[in-house]
Subunit: 410 residues, 4 copies
Amino acid sequence: MSNKVVLAYSGGLDTSVLLKWLSLKGFEVIAYVADVGQEEDFEAVRKKAIETGASKVFVEDLKREFVTDYIFPAFKANAIYEGRYLLGTAIARPIIAKRQIEIADSEGAAYVSHGATGKGNDQVRFELAYYALNPEIKVIAPWKDSDFLRDFKGRPELLAFAAEHGIEVKASTGKSFSEDDNLLHISHESGILEDPAYHAGEEIYSKTVSPELAPDTPTRISIEFKDGIPIRVTNLDDGREEREPLAVFTYLNEVGGANGIGRLDMVENRFIGIKSRGIYETPGGTILHLAHRDIEGIAMDREVMRLRDMLSAKLSELIYNGFWFSPEMEFLMAAVDKSQELIDGVVDLKLFKGGVSVLGRVSHSSLYDQEFSSMEIEGGFDQTDSQGFIKINAIRLMAHHAISHRKVGE
Amino acid sequence: MSNKVVLAYSGGLDTSVLLKWLSLKGFEVIAYVADVGQEEDFEAVRKKAIETGASKVFVEDLKREFVTDYIFPAFKANAIYEGRYLLGTAIARPIIAKRQIEIADSEGAAYVSHGATGKGNDQVRFELAYYALNPEIKVIAPWKDSDFLRDFKGRPELLAFAAEHGIEVKASTGKSFSEDDNLLHISHESGILEDPAYHAGEEIYSKTVSPELAPDTPTRISIEFKDGIPIRVTNLDDGREEREPLAVFTYLNEVGGANGIGRLDMVENRFIGIKSRGIYETPGGTILHLAHRDIEGIAMDREVMRLRDMLSAKLSELIYNGFWFSPEMEFLMAAVDKSQELIDGVVDLKLFKGGVSVLGRVSHSSLYDQEFSSMEIEGGFDQTDSQGFIKINAIRLMAHHAISHRKVGE
Amino acid sequence: MSNKVVLAYSGGLDTSVLLKWLSLKGFEVIAYVADVGQEEDFEAVRKKAIETGASKVFVEDLKREFVTDYIFPAFKANAIYEGRYLLGTAIARPIIAKRQIEIADSEGAAYVSHGATGKGNDQVRFELAYYALNPEIKVIAPWKDSDFLRDFKGRPELLAFAAEHGIEVKASTGKSFSEDDNLLHISHESGILEDPAYHAGEEIYSKTVSPELAPDTPTRISIEFKDGIPIRVTNLDDGREEREPLAVFTYLNEVGGANGIGRLDMVENRFIGIKSRGIYETPGGTILHLAHRDIEGIAMDREVMRLRDMLSAKLSELIYNGFWFSPEMEFLMAAVDKSQELIDGVVDLKLFKGGVSVLGRVSHSSLYDQEFSSMEIEGGFDQTDSQGFIKINAIRLMAHHAISHRKVGE
Amino acid sequence: MSNKVVLAYSGGLDTSVLLKWLSLKGFEVIAYVADVGQEEDFEAVRKKAIETGASKVFVEDLKREFVTDYIFPAFKANAIYEGRYLLGTAIARPIIAKRQIEIADSEGAAYVSHGATGKGNDQVRFELAYYALNPEIKVIAPWKDSDFLRDFKGRPELLAFAAEHGIEVKASTGKSFSEDDNLLHISHESGILEDPAYHAGEEIYSKTVSPELAPDTPTRISIEFKDGIPIRVTNLDDGREEREPLAVFTYLNEVGGANGIGRLDMVENRFIGIKSRGIYETPGGTILHLAHRDIEGIAMDREVMRLRDMLSAKLSELIYNGFWFSPEMEFLMAAVDKSQELIDGVVDLKLFKGGVSVLGRVSHSSLYDQEFSSMEIEGGFDQTDSQGFIKINAIRLMAHHAISHRKVGE
């Protein structure tokens, strides 16, 4: 069997140690760096991978595909976890894993490896995606590997190993918590943030300005949707317009971040049965989520909305838990796609000091359309129809009253 | 049969005309004014009812019961309609109807009457509650009554009738839309607001200051929950504390309104099959909803949350549609009550220019508790357990991959 | 406006009177007879329509389309109402309404009419389908028409009118209850059957022999599915085989009926808020439903099944209530179609004295396939993986135990 | 720490070897035999446990508690897995585990052990129940224990070990598959039954006679329910009556088995991600499930039924997967209990050659009650109310038609 392993590589301490460790174990290590929009000097990372022993390095720009094939479909489905979290980390994992498996296939590697820990969600998301895309793949997950765990009990051993093998360690950022950064969001968790009662200070945040420091004048934008997907964003104040998907989303991040939008502090339930506190910044996503909800409000049939909302909760759970590539996800997305066929229109929004609010909306696939309204008046119901509607809805309630009282009176 | 009718009376043009019209029809009209926290001169309303021909007037202070038996239970269930509307009007209807039926019973009235129109939700909510509480009650709903509709085609006929019968008409407020005001919220709809694209101006709002004009310094409060119910609110800046239910909710309204919190502009689906645009101000409710969600985040079991969320959507629909008094509502609330038994703790919040955000939270019925965490470390899972967990979750995905590829290859 | 009306005509007393009554009112009546597989002398019906005053008669053979576009899709979705009723009447209504609207369109008729009563489900199903397919259509529903109801209080007035206008009335069948017959089932209800405690006698049934009188030897058949649709039925005893959709279903009816299969006596909830007792005979459908469930058991992914089952309940309710042509039905069917892509295989069944049971099944899109099983052994999980799986699933439960006991101990 | 272990002991080869093996490892083994109604010579088992080295033996008669606290609650909830399986094995596991933990507590044992394999559901059900009831308990599961698995690769090693240590081995039953027997059902699986296409012969079955050999005359019984629980069963032919819970259920088994009722052959999805074929015999349960469904049909509110059915599916999954003792189960049962408050009445049934059918039913908490019906006539709806009901339900459909056609026409 091939001794090649494709390692998801970040350039940080953990995956650098892992790269060297795998190399010393006799693996040929192919480093794979996914660019999903995080702040990074990718050339430096490439160089470090080679210096640490990688036989090859792939730096893959996945940003546009991330927007069109992952972010937009998830937001089309109104995916939101436990009522609040916009799934910024979870949505990025499947695209990273998919490209990794593609590289393993093209390079003939039998193994893939990642540096996610054994108590988190990411290990699950990566590995479920690996297995779903290639059931024959072998996964090396050092933080669940007894050999690796014997050698490395914590950060001190990692630093010692790095020193020993000449792996350069960046000066500490001074941040006493961990982060995950991509185009959709940045998360902050663990360390000092583990205490759920701890009030996070301004120094935590990096993708949004503080609402207190945001401009004193609102920014007004509009977003146009076609089939539930944003196809245009316009700044109503200065007229700037974006239509290309990556540009649309990047611009939403820009105006959102500048207005302090998208901060969230919550305790969530991990797939791994424990609770964890996360702080998220999702500027563009927060705007997009609200705008999409709003255009659906005017353009979506009521009963479709009821059913879709039920499915959205399930779909969000699937994304969070790592089942992006699964038969049940395909099943749900078939219905979601159907539900978006009439979701067209424009939503006007106001951004101000951490808040997004809707100013108004227009949709041609809506009950508010002139043509339909007039039809409704002519051929539609008159007010007395309501009487029959109410009476018939009341039958069950009247019966229940009679039965309950009889039972009590027994 | 008794010719007494209990009329839900507001003192406005419509119900005053209705009072007189019923009186002229030969009914003995008992006027019933429900005080659910709206801005009103109740003594003036009482006087006007008598002058217009009422045989008796009941002005009923329902505010405390509204908070303890309607608002808190609904918020305990996280009731929110179509993802956004906190049901301010819908939650007030059942308590108004319930007291009206009680008065009809004690006064021996065979009839009740209300002034809600024939295209809205309120007629349904009132009448379903009437029938559910007393299946023998007769309902007089003038806006669905062909006699009344023949006499009164619109506002001009109402004004003419009022003039003819000496019914005093207040000077117009100048507001070209209609409102519903109570302790939980004020709604604004119809008239100029009917065009969903129309950007509502600052003059619409009355329960909240504009975020732009709200204080430049945040207000910090904490809310303590017991069994999912708020039992104490504390201003973390000045130390003010409220514990009595009505005082708790009133204070949340006060600090919420002062910080511009709780404005919402949305298009919603009425039970009566049409869409309508509403603008709502729910200052205290918006704070309470978020705080409750947050304390649940730390104190509620994950799978209970999944199931409860599914039921919350249904329960919200029931409240919106007028099924507060129904067997299915009792069914759902039995589960909701069960789910709240461990929902205890304190949430710290920041209120600032229209936004509410969570600063931190503490709960003794939580995974974060010291005692449990140590137990978890000793007897709990170690990281290698995750490997088996992932592998077993992957089995289905691997099978699906194999089967799908075989099918395609056929 | 055109004075043409397309009347759904059965040849019975009610619709014959209705035809004449409409004709006397000045309408040009086009009689429309839908052949959905009921026992009927269609030429006699055609003749009677003309004699009673119809300007034209359409006798439409809808049997094949009924099977391919209505029965098979519904059974593909496992549609079953309140856990038991296979929706035999409800599934036939949309196809009847659809052809009626098509005739109205092609004949330039502004009106359609039907003879369903005002307390049942069929009026709702017909009329919702009419409005969904042509919102401008005018519906004449005599049993909700105050003019008609004034003229005809019950059967005596209908008989008198028939006598007066020379409408031939068939000798009574002697059946003191009403029936609806089509390819999928026959229903029996009302009259003596209204008492839910009444034990229905053998004389009620017509599409199935009594289990007591069915053959003493079982019949063995197999059904082959492709994408969830039956594409072949084979008698394992005599080798007879059918592949054409209508022939497949007709043969299932034949062997089902001969073995006393598909009788059901239940009390169900009508859309119109009341309960009603129905007795149904669905011989072929009962076999098909079980066989489809069984092939799904082997070929469908577990999580897809969970979600699909949740949707099936909703979809069944939609069919029952008359929402076949609705946006929510399209939404659900998009997901159902997706779920059936791998539902291929053969199920062997035994039919005996009222019972259907599964003998065995084979599917190539299944975990049982040789090829997959071997893959599983090599790359799959070993038994120790279960330990981690269980431990991680137990974390929540352990936490709940700790918290509940602490709370109790407070 | 105590070296005592409470072993769930059956007297068979596996748990006898396990008993001795644990004893040789230095554990003090307390044998625990749960009598949940299986065919067994419990005195012989007790003797064998002592001979094999147990320090103590507990033979616990759990039959009555099994019926009242496990079977009846599950059937009250209509629990049925994947539409067909009545959960006979799954419902027995929690009661067995609960008593085992109680014995461990009272005996001061730190360990519990069971003989379930590492690919099945039972290991999960036992261990989740153990951990839920006592998070500090240590579980010894030999078929996931690497020491045990090294010593015992399969049956030959078990037999050799038994021979070596003088453990008596019963003559083989000749059954080439495994079984689980209790009061609720007997299951048959694995071995020759693993091939899902294999037609199981009559020799498989033991709790039911073959339908072909069942009496040629039907048996008629009635079951009375109170709050959804069967409180009386009566043979309508010979007048025999049972009222005590265990006697009621035992008698249902007797008449069910004699009439060949309750056989089921299906492929199901295990919690452990794989599919498995099981053959079940559940004579009394099959009758009870249908009767309960039927009494609900007449006595339960429609909307409560909709919601309950949704929850039943989830609840069945929880039972199957081993989450009987869990917060989510408590949550669901709170609602189920509420739903059964009016489920009173009597169902008459016919049992004949493998089939159960309903003959009729009576309930005093029903719409069919005389008193309510008359009320309905006076104060209720008249047929013309249906017109408004339909018109208002059609509004959405008309709008959708208009919008869809406009979109297509774009």
